[in-house]
Structures are given as structure tokens and as C-alpha cells.
């Protein structure tokens, strides 16, 4: 029962933060230069269009009414219409979202797989020369601007060697039998390679350092000494006991990483002209397309807040000390 209360309180917290961020966004976009209406109405709209918008968002009504309409629309999934693209914001975002998800998930998976393995190896090989140069190298990947790494890789592998395309998600004019076919095509994967590689290089440092530090801690624990006394094999000790304990925080970090990456991939998407949510946000802001910018930001924030919640759930369900409650005598 303790578990259920915990989940409900975390859920409530998540909803609270979602609401707070949506509210902050509402007020920020009212500060758009020009009239508060500028967030919704462009001067180029016709009289009828303007009237329709006035109706839809209650722009002629007092602020608190507009706020109520705003929240109601959000819950219904109505994020308004884009100024620059002839479509509803929700639809535009729906089109680009899969690209961001594909990039984020693949990069994170690769980064974490490599990071965890190398982190465990480095913990195992503590105090050797390998540690001496690999740790500074990892720190360098975390210190470098990710878009700069992207630029280097693009210059080397795309322009110089011609192995990979220099941007976009698919070649111009490419035809596919369906959306799914597109995502699994070789063309798509070739385009995905460089941005994903860049992100993986940038992101692997965290799981690596985390796993290594956790392993080092766990290896000092009494139960690891006991495992040696029991005569268990090194493999059993390292994998079944040490790594299993060390992985708990890493799993949580992965969930959090998804949340952060969704927002942070903005620059990578720009470098590689990857048609994702981040790039959409940048273009919307640059073009003063306020509804689209607001919608994109909201979706990014919502994913992040959701992943924070998921990370919390993961942490409590993976660690038996948290999930099964107090000691019984």
C-alpha cells in the first residue's frame, strides 16, 4: 500500500508541474512584442480569420477567461494554428515528433550500452594505465559542445570522405511505401548515423562515469567480499552482484536522459538539418510563429516532466529496499 500512495503523490506532483509550466508559458507568450494578441493573430490575417480566432481563444474576454480557455484547449489537445505553416500546431508537431524520438532513443541506447560496458570495465581495471588516459578523454567528450562535435564529424565523414549525407533525414525526392518503411530504410539510417553518433559520443560520458563510480562503491560492499568467500566465480560476482547493484541509478539516469535530450537535441537537429521538434522550435521562434513555438515548447516540457516521473517510478520499483517497504520482524 505504501507503494501506491507513493505513486499517486508522484503523479500529483507531475500534474502540478505540468500545470505550472503551462501557466508560465501562457504568461510568457503574452509578453510577446506588440499587443498580447500578437501571440495568436498576425496582422496579415483577414478580418474573418481574426474574428474566428478571437472566438476560439476568447481574446476579447478578460484574462482569467482566456486562461481558462487556454487550459481547456490544452486538455483537448488544441494548440492553435501555425502562422507560417498552413496547419494546426498539433498536426505539425505530430509530423516531426517521430524524428526526434527516433534520434533520441537510438542515440541514448547506444550511448548507455557503450557507457555502461566501458564504465564496468574501467571499474574492474582500476588503477591501470587504461584508466589514466580514458577518464580525461571521456571528460573531454562531456566538455565539448555537442554541435561542435557534430561539425567535426560532418566535415570529416561527410564532406571530406563522403561516407554519409550532410543533413536531413532522407534524401530529397525519396519515395517510400509507408511511414514505417521510411523509418527502416537504409536511406534513413544513413542520414541518422552522423547525428546519432555525435549524440552518442556526447552522451556516453554520463553513464560511463556513473557506472564506474557505482561499481567502485559496490565492490567495496560486504556482500561482494562474501561472494568471494563463497567461492563464486569472478564473472558471477561482477555481473550478477556488482553490476546488478550498480545499474540501479543508471536505469534512472536513462529515463531522465530521455527527458533532457528531447529538449537538448535542438542544436544537433540544427547542425544536421534533422526535421525534429527542436529544429521546429528554433524556426518557429526565428519566424515569430508564436503558436508553433508555444506548442513545441509545451510538448518538449511535457515529455521531460513525464520522464522525470517515469524515472522516479523506475527507481522505486527496481530497488527492493524501496519497493517492498519496511523491515518486518
Amino acid at each position: 500500500m505504501a507503494g501506491l500512495t507513493r505513486i499517486t503523490s508522484r503523479l500529483a506532483q507531475m500534474l502540478f508541474v505540468l500545470w505550472a509550466v503551462a501557466t508560465i508559458l501562457f504568461f510568457i507568450f503574452r509578453l510577446a512584442p506588440g499587443t498580447p494578441l500578437a501571440a495568436y493573430i498576425e496582422p496579415t490575417f483577414t478580418e474573418e480569420q481574426q474574428q474566428a480566432l478571437l472566438q476560439r481563444f476568447g481574446l476579447d474576454k478578460p484574462l482569467y477567461v482566456q486562461y481558462g480557455i487556454y487550459l481547456r484547449n490544452l486538455v483537448r489537445g488544441d494548440l492553435g494554428d501555425s502562422f507560417t505553416l498552413n496547419d494546426s500546431v498539433a498536426s505539425v508537431i505530430g509530423d516531426v515528433f517521430p524524428y526526434t524520438i527516433a534520434l533520441t532513443l537510438i542515440s541514448l541506447l547506444v550511448a548507455y550500452l557503450i557507457g555502461v560496458l566501458m564504465g564496468a570495465v574501467l571499474a574492474w581495471k582500476r588503477g591501470t594505465w587504461l584508466e589514466g588516459w580514458s577518464i580525461p578523454l571521456v571528460l573531454t567528450t562531456r566538455a565539448a559542445p555537442e554541435f561542435w562535435l557534430g561539425m567535426l564529424l560532418m566535415a570529416l565523414l561527410s564532406f571530406n570522405l563522403g561516407w554519409f549525407p550532410a543533413g536531413g533525414a532522407v534524401s530529397a525526392g525519396a519515395e517510400f511505401s509507408s511511414e514505417w518503411a521510411r523509418f527502416f530504410s537504409l536511406d534513413f539510417l544513413k542520414h541518422l548515423f552522423l547525428p546519432a553518433l555525435t549524440l552518442a559520443i556526447y552522451l556516453h560520458g554520463l553513464p560511463l562515469l556513473l557506472m564506474r563510480s557505482n561499481m567502485l562503491e559496490v565492490m567495496q560492499e560486504d556482500f561482494v567480499t562474501m561472494a568471494r568467500m563463497k567461492g563464486l566465480s569472478s564473472w558471477t560476482i561482477m555481473v550478477r552482484h556488482a553490476a546488478r547493484n550498480a545499474l540501479l541509478p543508471v536505469a534512472t539516469a536513462f529515463a531522465l536522459g530521455i527527458g533532457y535530450s528531447i529538449g537538448g537535441n535542438v542544436v544537433i537537429e540544427t547542425v544536421f538539418s534533422w526535421p525534429g521538434l527542436g529544429r521546429m522550435l528554433v524556426r518557429a521562434v526565428a519566424a515569430n510563429d508564436y503558436p508553433l513555438a508555444q506548442g513545441a515548447f509545451l510538448v518538449i516540457a511535457a515529455v521531460m516532466i513525464l520522464m522525470n516521473f517515469v524515472a522516479d517510478l523506475l527507481y522505486s520499483s527496481l530497488d527492493p529496499r524501496v519497493s517492498s517497504g519496511h523491515a518486518k520482524h
Binding site: M229, L232, T236, P320, R321, A327
Partner: protein, 266 residues
């Protein structure tokens, strides 16, 4: 005798130089008896106990001497030969079972792990045996499904005993098995240990700083000071008529009577 230690040397590399934690210790555990190894903190008794298992910290070194176990000399064999002995012939009950169990696995699974991987048990046989072991140490078998953090200190210690007995070893080394427990539970655990030793004919090397524990449970006693064993012999003799001044000091400070072993005086 099941265990005979001769002139054992164990050295630690520390920031302050080399520390001779065990500095020429001699010890004999007669088969089927309980030997109490008693001394203050830092005298090297835990190091000695771990040396018999062959599991020492990274900066420790077996620098000399001989350990004869069941006819074999342990220091001259390699680690892989030593590993074969561990748990099957000589097992260890740790000081505070608080952290000696892996927190992410159920207690029953940790028993089964040892039975399957180190014994020749099948999964089913191992499950059966873990039930037996729990009953043996006076624990409710239903608790096998629990996680270590759900156990009290006493329960964890009993689990540690059950684990140690899993593969029916010839020698049990118990390192301060009751130190971390409150007095009433101490007594219960020691009683359990006494009973099991009698039932199964175990040989036990019991390491402790508490001389009243030795008085309560042990047949033989060895007194350790600064890395050496300074006095040893039958418990009833050494504790009532100590020869070495250090032993005298120990016995004088503890509330034990002149009654021989077996009386309930703690």
C-alpha cells in the same frame, strides 16, 4: 585436528608503511571442537580468520607461515585450488550480516545460488535444501521469499549461519557473529550455534573480542595480542588460571565466574 596454523604472517601495505597485522601466529582447532580466538580490536584476529579463507583485501599479503587444513597446506596452493575449498570445506559467518547479503536478491535465491553454483544441487533439490537449512537455524521458511532489508539483525545472522552450513563444510569460521546484536538475541544465536555444532559435529573457529562469549560457548581458547597468539588451551583452564599477563587483564575485566563451560553465565 582440522586446522593448524604455524607462524602465519599477514602484512598490509598502508600509508604509514607495512603493517604486520598477523605476526607469527600459531593456532590449532581440534576436530569437532569450538575454538575461541579472543583479543582486542586491531590485534589481527579478523585478518587471521580471513587468511584461512584466502580472501584478503587488495593491499594485504600472505607473507609467511603455513596453514594446514584437513591435511592440506593452503599457502602453497594456487588461488584456484583455494577457491575449490571455499564454502564447500570451510565457510565463513561474517561480523555484521547487515551488508553481507546482496540487497537486490531474495534471501532464498541467495541460498539457492550457493547450492547450485558451488554444490551439485539441481534447482529443485536446492529449493528443498534451503527450506531445511532455514528450519535448522530456527527460521520460518516462508521468509525465504523476503529481501534482506526486511529482516531484523538476528534474522540476518541466522541466515548467515544457514548459508554457511549450506554445503556441509568441515570448518566454520565465525567472525564476531554476535557483536552487532543486542544481548538477548546474542544469547539466542549462540545457543543455536552450540546446538548446531553438537548436532552436526562441526569444527568452529570463533573470533571475538568478548571473553564472556568464549566462556559461554568455546571448548578451547586462543588469546591474540599484536598479531601473535600469546596463550592457548582449554577454555576452562585458561580463563580461570590465565598465565599470560594480557589474558589476566582480559579475564579480570569481564564478569565471568569460575564455573566451567556449559553453565549459563553471560
Amino acid at each position: 585436528m582440522i586446522l593448524a596454523i604455524e607462524d602465519l604472517q599477514v602484512h598490509y601495505r598502508s600509508q604509514r608503511g607495512v603493517v604486520h597485522a598477523v605476526d607469527g601466529a600459531d593456532l590449532v582447532v581440534p576436530t569437532g571442537k569450538i575454538l575461541g580466538l579472543v583479543g582486542e580490536s586491531g590485534c589481527g584476529k579478523t585478518t587471521l580468520a580471513r587468511a584461512v579463507m584466502g580472501v584478503l583485501p587488495k593491499n594485504a599479503r600472505l607473507a609467511g607461515g603455513e596453514i594446514h587444513f584437513d591435511g592440506r597446506e593452503l599457502l602453497s596452493q594456487g588461488d584456484s585450488a583455494w577457491r575449490k575449498l571455499r564454502w564447500r570445506e570451510v565457510a565463513f559467518i561474517p561480523q555484521s550480516a547487515m551488508n553481507s547479503l546482496d540487497p537486490v536478491y531474495r534471501v532464498g535465491d541467495q541460498l539457492i545460488e550457493v547450492l547450485i553454483r558451488r554444490g551439485a544441487y539441481s534447482r529443485q533439490q536446492a529449493a528443498k535444501r534451503s527450506l531445511e537449512l532455514f528450519r535448522l537455524v530456527g527460521m520460518d521458511p516462508a521468509r525465504l521469499r523476503d529481501y534482506p532489508h526486511q529482516f531484523s539483525g538476528g534474522m540476518r545472522q541466522r541466515t548467515a549461519i544457514a548459508l554457511a552450513l549450506a554445503l556441509e563444510p568441515k570448518l566454520i569460521i565465525a567472525d564476531e557473529p554476535v557483536t552487532a546484536l543486542d544481548v538477548i538475541v546474542q544469547r539466542q544465536i549462540l545457543d543455536t550455534l552450540k546446538d548446531l555444532q553438537r548436532q552436526l559435529g562441526l569444527s568452529v573457529l570463533l573470533v571475538t573480542h568478548d571473553i564472556s562469549v568464549v566462556a559461554y560457548v568455546c571448548d578451547q581458547v586462543a588469546v591474540m595480542y599484536a598479531g601473535r597468539v600469546v596463550e592457548s588451551g582449554k577454555a576452562s583452564v585458561v580463563l580461570t588460571r590465565p598465565y599470560h599477563p594480557y589474558t589476566m587483564g582480559l579475564t579480570m575485566l569481564s564478569p565471568i565466574s569460575n564455573a566451567p563451560k556449559g553453565s549459563s553465565r553471560l
